[in-house]
Amino acid sequence: MGEYKLLLANVDKPDSEKLETYRKSGGYERLRKALFEMKPEEIVEEVKKSGLRGRGGAGFPTGLKWSFVPKTDEPKYLVCNADEGEPGTFKDRVIIEKDPHLLLEGIAISAYAIGAHEAFIYIRGEYEYGAQVLERAIKEAEEAGILGPNAMGSGYDIKITVHRGAGAYVCGEETALLNSLEGRRGHPRIRPPFPASKGLYQHPTVINNVETLATVPFIVERGGDWYASLGTEKSKGTKLFSISGHVNKPGVYELELGTPFEELIYEIAGGIREGRKLKAVIPGGSSTPMLTADEIKGVKLDYESLQAAGSMLGSGAVIVMDETTCIVKAVYRMAKFYAHESCGQCTPCREGTRWMVQILSRIVNGKGRMEDLDVLLDMKNIMGGNCLCPLGDAALGPLISGITKFRDEFVEHIKTGRCPLGG
C-alpha cells in the first residue's frame, strides 16, 4: 500500500507531453497490441477482470458499463469526461497536461473496444492550456498515423475531438455533458434511456472519466489479473488523490487503493499545517459527506471502507480542514456552490439549493433561528433521492453531515449570533 506510480510514471519527465517522450517508454504499443492482437470483446473482458471502477465519482465497474453497448451497426461514441468540476478535484488535469498521449492511447483502445470510431474529450472551459496540449497531442498522433483513419495501419478509424465546455459544473454529469456536446443547454437527461443505448445524438455512447481511460493501456499491457492484484479485495488498482486544504504538501498523489487515510494526510501530504489539529475531512469531493478527525481513524482509502465510514471515495478529492475552520461557513460556501451550479430543471434541487443558501446566510450573519436547523435537515427528506440527477443529492452531502456532526457549532452561531471561532 502507499504511493504507487502507474498513471503518474511519466509526468515528471522533461517534455513528458511530447509524442517522442511517450513512445520511448513504450507508448502506443498497447494500442498496437489491442488493434492487432486483440478482439474488442477480449479487451472488454480484460477490463472486467481488472476490477477497474469509474474514477469520475460514481465508481461504476468500467468493463460492465462497456458491455451494455449493443452490438449493432449504428454509430457508437466514446466520450472522455474531462470536465473535472467537483470542488477539490484536480487530478485529471495532471494527466491531461503532463501525459496527454497516455489519455489518447486509453481513449483509442477503449473506442476500439466498444466499436466506436469517434471519441470526444469534453474538457472544462477553464482548462484552456490542457485543451491546447490535447489538441497538439492529437495532431502529433494523427501525423504519425497513430490516430485518424486506418490507425496504425490496422484498418480501424479513430477520430478524437476536443470539445471545450463553458464552465458549468453540471456539465460533468454525463447526460448534461451529452446535451452540451450536442450544442444544447447542459441539462441532465432523464434516465432511462441510458447513454449506453441512447447517448450522443441518440446513439450508444460510453462516458468515462479521464483517469479511468488512462488506466486502460496498463490493463491491456499487463492483463486484468495483474491490475486486480493491486489494491484491496473489492477496490482494485491505484487511484489518484487530489489533496487540498490545510496540509503541508497539497497536490496529486497516486496511491494503491486501501492505503490508510491517515498515511495520506500525515505522511504523504506532510501533515496538518502549522502543527494544528485536524477537524474534519471531505474525502471524495465536495459532495461526499464530511468525516470528523475521529471518524477517519483507521479508515482506508477505498470504496468500501469509506462507504462503511458513512461517506464515499468519490473522485478522490480530499479536502482537509483544521481546527481553525468554521464548519458553518464551510457548509455555507459549499451550499453557495451548489445553488450556483444547479441547472434549475427540477424543483427540489433548484429551490432547495437556493433556500439552503438563504438560511445559511442568515445563520452566518447572526440572524439564525433554531427552527432553521430543522428546516435544513428536512431538506434531506424533500431532496434526497428525489431529484432528476445526482447533483441535488450532492448538495446535501456537506449540509447534512455538517449539521449532524457539528451541530453545536451551528447552535452557537444561532444562539450568540457570532462565530465562536471569530471567523
Binding site: T347, E351, Q358, R362, N386
Partner: protein, 736 residues
C-alpha cells in the same frame, strides 16, 4: 402491444406495457398531482410533483416518466409520498408571488389547486422572496416571470411541436428564466399554445388580461371560423360578452393557432352594427326590421331571371348557405361564395382525418402557405416529419413550414404553377434553388408513398394536374379551400360561374341587384377596381354583415348579422365532417343569422326559404376544369397574400391580434434589394394597375429575383387594386 397489470393504491388496472405509472393511475382513477406532465408533450420528469412509492424500488419514482412493469405495486397514499408532495409544493411557493387576486390564471391554476389539495397549511419560509419583473412580449402574451414554476411546458411545446422557436430557458439554477433570446415580440402564429400549456399564471393572454375572472365565464363548445381545420373551441361568455377562448378538446389537434385563440374580440366590438340601416339620400339611417324587410322584399320581387345575385363569404355556416341558395333559386338569381376569385370547387381528398396526415411517409405542399391558410395542418405535417416523414414545401410564399422541413424552395410568383406542373411531370430539376440533397430527397418523395397538399392558391388547372397525377401514382391528395366552410357552401350549391363573373355582370348591368353577406369584397376579391365598378353600377345593394366596411359603403340596405359565437350553425371541415357550433351568447342588438333575414324577406316576398343544409356526397371533379395554368410575366411580379395576423375574419376589429402585424411588408430578394439600394426595414413603393402602395421591405433569403410577395389585409390599404382577377400581377418596385 402487450398489456400488463399494475396495482395502484390497491386498485388493479390493465394498461399497455409502455404506459407510465401516471397513465395507469389515471385509468385507476387515482389522482397523482403533476405540473410538468402534459398529455401531448413528451414527459420530462422535471417538477417532481408526481413522485410515488413503487414496491421494490428504494427511491420514489416520478410517475410521469416511469414505465409500468407487470405486477408493479404503486402507492400514492403513504406518509412518505404525502411529505414529499408537501415539500415540493412548499418549494414551488417559496418565491412565488401568490398574487392570486390579480392573477388571470386564478381559478384554473395548477399551483392553486395542488396547493389546496396537497400543500401544507403554513409556510416555513421567512426569507426574502426573489421576484422578477413582468415582461410583455408584444400584443399577444405577457410573462409574469415570478409566477413561472419552470415546468418547461412552453419550451417543450416550442421544441417538440414547433420544431424550434425563439423561446427557451435562460440563466440557470433558481435564477433560470423563461423567455425569448432576441424577439421583443413573440408572435409565432401558435403563440396561444404557450398560454394554454402554461399550468400557472406565468404566460397569459394580453387580450384577456384583467378582463374578468374565469369562474364568471360560462363556456360553450363551438368551432373556429377562421379556417377549415375546424378546431374545437370553448367560448367563455359573461354578460353576453365573449371574453376568452379555450381549447379544451383536442379536436382535430391538441393545438390551435392564434387566429382561433385571439381573433374573436370583434364579436364585442363597439363598431358592430346592431340595427338595420337604410340609405336615405346620402346617409345611412337606422330603420325598423319590418320596414327593412318589406322594402328589400319589394325591391327583389321586381327583378327578373338572372338579375339578382348573391355573394357569400365562404365562412358562412351551412344553414345560411342553404337559405341563400334557396332564395337564389326562388328569384332565379346567381350565387357564389368564391370571394377570393378561386376558379375551383372543393375536391374530396383521399385522406380521411388528421391522423392520416400525421402518419404520412412523405408530404409535399404546393401552391399555398398552409401555416396561414390552415395553420394547425402545418403542425400535423411537422408531426409527420418528426415521426420520420420527408416533407417538402414548394410555394411562392411561406412563413413557417418551409424553413422547418427537408425540401424548401420559394418559387417565382409568376411561374409557380408551370414549375409545379413540370415537377409533377417528373422533372425535379425544374424546381430552382434546391441543394443536391434536397433534389434527391424530392426525387425519393415522388417515387414513393406521397401525400400531396394543394394550397389555396392552386388554380383549377393545377388542381387537375395534381389530381390526375395522384390517381396515376397512387398518391394521397388533400385540396385546401379558403374560408372555414367552402365544403358546406359547395354542398348547399352556393356556386355558379365564380364571383368574378357575377361582378362583371353587375358592372355590365346584367345583374341589377346584389346581396353580399359576410364579406368585404375589397379585402378579398383580387381585383379592387372591378369590385368598385360593380358596386357603383349595382342598382340595388344589400350588405349583411357585422361591420360597416368598404363594401357596405355602397349599400342601400345594411342588415346586421350574428357572429359565429351567436349563430349556432354548422360547418363542414377539411375532412368533410359536419361540425356544429353551439350558440354561446344571445344575438347582439337586432342582429340575426343570414338565414333568419332571408326567411323574413322570403316570407314578405311569398317565397319559401329553406335552410336545411345537406352535405354533398362527392366533391368536384377537377378534371372538368378547362382553365390554363396560371402564369404571369413581367420584370417584377408580385404575389399578394394576407399577412397571418390580418388573415382572420374581421381582423381589423380584432385588437391584439391585428396589432401584431404593424405595417404591410414586401418580401424581396437579396438581388433586387441590392439593385435598388434597399436594406431590410427600408420603405419600398409598389405600383401597378390600380395604385401605388408603400411597404416595409423584408429582404428574404431564397426569394427569387424579380419576384416579390406583398401583404394584404391592412386597413385602408386596398392592395387588391393592383390585381386583375388573380393574386399575382406584374408591378413596379421602387425605393421609397
Amino acid at each position: 402491444m402487450g398489456m400488463v397489470k399494475v396495482t395502484i393504491d390497491g386498485i388493479t388496472v390493465e394498461v399497455p406495457e409502455n404506459a407510465t405509472i401516471l397513465q395507469a393511475a389515471m385509468k385507476a382513477g387515482v389522482d397523482i398531482p403533476y405540473f410538468c406532465y402534459h398529455p401531448y408533450l413528451k414527459p420530462a420528469g422535471l417538477c417532481r410533483m408526481c413522485l410515488v412509492e413503487v414496491e421494490g424500488m428504494p427511491k420514489l419514482a416520478p410517475a410521469c416518466v416511469t414505465q409500468v412493469r407487470d405486477g408493479m405495486v404503486v402507492r400514492t397514499n403513504t406518509e412518505r409520498v404525502k411529505k414529499v408532495r408537501e415539500g415540493i409544493v412548499e418549494f414551488q411557493l417559496l418565491h412565488h408571488p401568490l398574487d392570486c387576486p390579480i392573477c388571470d390564471q386564478a381559478g384554473e391554476c395548477y399551483l392553486q389547486d395542488i396547493t389546496f389539495r396537497y400543500g401544507r397549511a403554513t409556510s416555513r419560509f421567512v426569507d426574502e422572496k426573489e421576484l422578477y419583473p413582468t415582461k410583455f412580449y408584444g400584443p399577444l402574451i405577457v410573462h409574469e416571470q415570478s409566477r413561472c414554476i419552470l415546468c418547461k411546458r412552453c419550451v417543450r411545446f416550442c421544441t417538440e411541436v414547433l420544431n424550434g422557436a425563439d423561446w427557451n430557458v435562460y440563466w440557470r439554477a433558481a435564477h433560470s428564466l423563461i423567455g425569448s433570446y432576441e424577439s421583443d415580440k413573440v408572435a409565432n402564429y401558435f403563440t396561444c399554445n404557450l398560454v394554454e400549456v402554461c399550468p400557472v399564471g406565468a404566460i397569459t393572454s394580453r387580450l384577456y388580461r384583467y378582463k374578468t375572472r374565469i369562474w364568471k365565464l360560462e363556456f360553450t363548445r363551438s368551432v373556429c371560423e377562421h379556417c377549415e381545420m375546424g378546431c374545437s373551441l370553448d367560448l367563455g361568455v359573461r354578460e353576453n360578452q365573449l371574453f376568452k377562448i379555450k381549447h379544451r378538446m383536442a379536436d382535430p389537434s391538441p393545438w390551435i393557432c392564434d387566429k382561433g385563440y385571439y381573433a374573436f374580440d370583434y364579436v364585442n366590438h363597439a363598431e358592430r352594427i346592431l340595427y338595420p340601416l337604410a340609405r336615405q339620400e346620402n346617409k345611412m339611417v337606422s330603420v325598423e326590421v319590418e320596414d327593412a324587410v318589406s322594402s328589400i322584399a319589394d325591391k327583389l320581387k321586381n327583378y327578373g331571371e338572372g338579375e339578382v345575385a348573391f355573394i357569400l363569404s365562404p365562412s358562412l355556416c351551412l344553414e345560411d348557405a342553404a337559405a341563400v341558395s334557396s332564395m337564389a333559386k326562388a328569384v332565379k338569381g346567381l350565387v357564389d361564395y368564391r370571394v377570393y376569385g378561386e376558379d375551383y370547387l372543393p375536391v374530396k381528398g383521399n385522406v380521411s382525418d388528421i391522423e392520416d396526415v400525421e402518419s404520412a411517409k412523405a408530404v409535399l405542399v404546393v401552391g399555398g402557405d398552409v401555416a396561414v391558410s390552415h395553420p394547425v395542418l402545418a403542425l400535423s405535417i411537422l408531426k409527420a416529419k418528426n415521426a420520420g416523414a420527408k416533407v417538402g414545401v414548394l410555394s411562392a410564399h411561406d412563413i413557417f413550414l418551409g424553413e422547418r422541413v427537408d425540401v424548401f424552395s420559394l418559387l417565382p410568383a409568376g411561374s409557380e404553377e408551370p414549375l409545379i406542373k413540370e415537377l409533377l411531370d417528373g422533372n425535379v430539376d425544374a424546381i430552382p434553388d434546391l441543394s443536391d440533397e434536397e433534389r434527391s430527397c424530392l426525387k425519393d418523395m415522388l417515387s414513393g408513398e406521397l401525400l400531396l397538399v394543394a394550397g389555396v392558391r392552386a388554380s383549377s388547372a393545377l388542381r387537375a394536374a395534381i389530381y390526375s397525377r395522384s390517381k396515376e401514382k397512387g398518391w394521397k391528395y388533400l385540396f385546401l379551400d379558403r374560408g372555414c366552410n367552402a365544403k358546406g357552401l359547395y354542398s348547399a350549391g352556393a356556386y355558379s360561374e365564380g364571383v368574378g363573373e357575377i361582378l362583371n355582370r353587375v358592372k355590365e348591368g346584367k345583374v341589377k341587384a346584389l346581396v353580399v353577406a359576410g364579406v368585404d369584397l375589397f379585402n378579398t376579391y383580387p381585383n379592387g377596381s372591378l369590385v368598385k365598378e360593380a358596386l357603383e353600377s349595382a342598382e340595388f345593394l344589400v350588405v349583411m354583415d357585422l361591420f360597416f366596411h368598404d363594401t357596405a359603403m355602397y349599400s342601400d340596405f345594411f342588415l346586421p348579422i350574428t357572429s359565429f359565437a351567436e349563430d349556432g350553425g354548422s360547418v363542414v371541415d377539411l375532412f368533410w365532417r359536419v361540425r356544429r357550433r353551439n350558440p354561446a351568447m344571445q344575438p347582439k342588438g337586432l342582429s340575426r343569422p343570414v338565414r333568419d333575414w332571408l326567411a323574413l324577406i322570403g316570407e314578405a316576398m311569398g317565397a319559401d326559404v329553406d335552410s336545411q343544409g345537406q352535405v354533398a356526397e362527392t366533391g368536384w371533379d377537377p378534371l372538368q376544369a378547362k382553365a390554363e395554368l396560371l402564369e404571369v410575366k413581367g420584370n417584377t411580379v408580385a404575389l399578394v397574400e394576407h399577412a397571418f395576423y390580418r388573415s382572420a375574419r374581421y381582423a381589423s376589429w380584432c385588437s391584439r391580434f391585428s396589432e401584431v402585424a404593424e405595417s404591410p411588408c414586401a418580401y424581396i430578394s437579396e438581388d433586387d434589394a441590392k439593385a435598388l439600394g434597399v436594406s431590410d426595414g427600408d420603405k419600398v413603393l409598389v405600383s401597378g394597375k390600380g395604385g401605388k402602395f408603400e411597404f416595409v421591405a423584408k429582404v428574404r433569403e431564397g426569394q427569387p429575383k424579380g419576384s416579390i410577395v406583398i401583404d394584404a389585409g391592412f386597413d385602408r390599404f386596398p392592395v387588391t387594386l393592383l390585381l386583375n382577377g388573380s393574386w399575382v400581377a406584374p408591378v413596379e418596385l421602387r425605393k421609397a
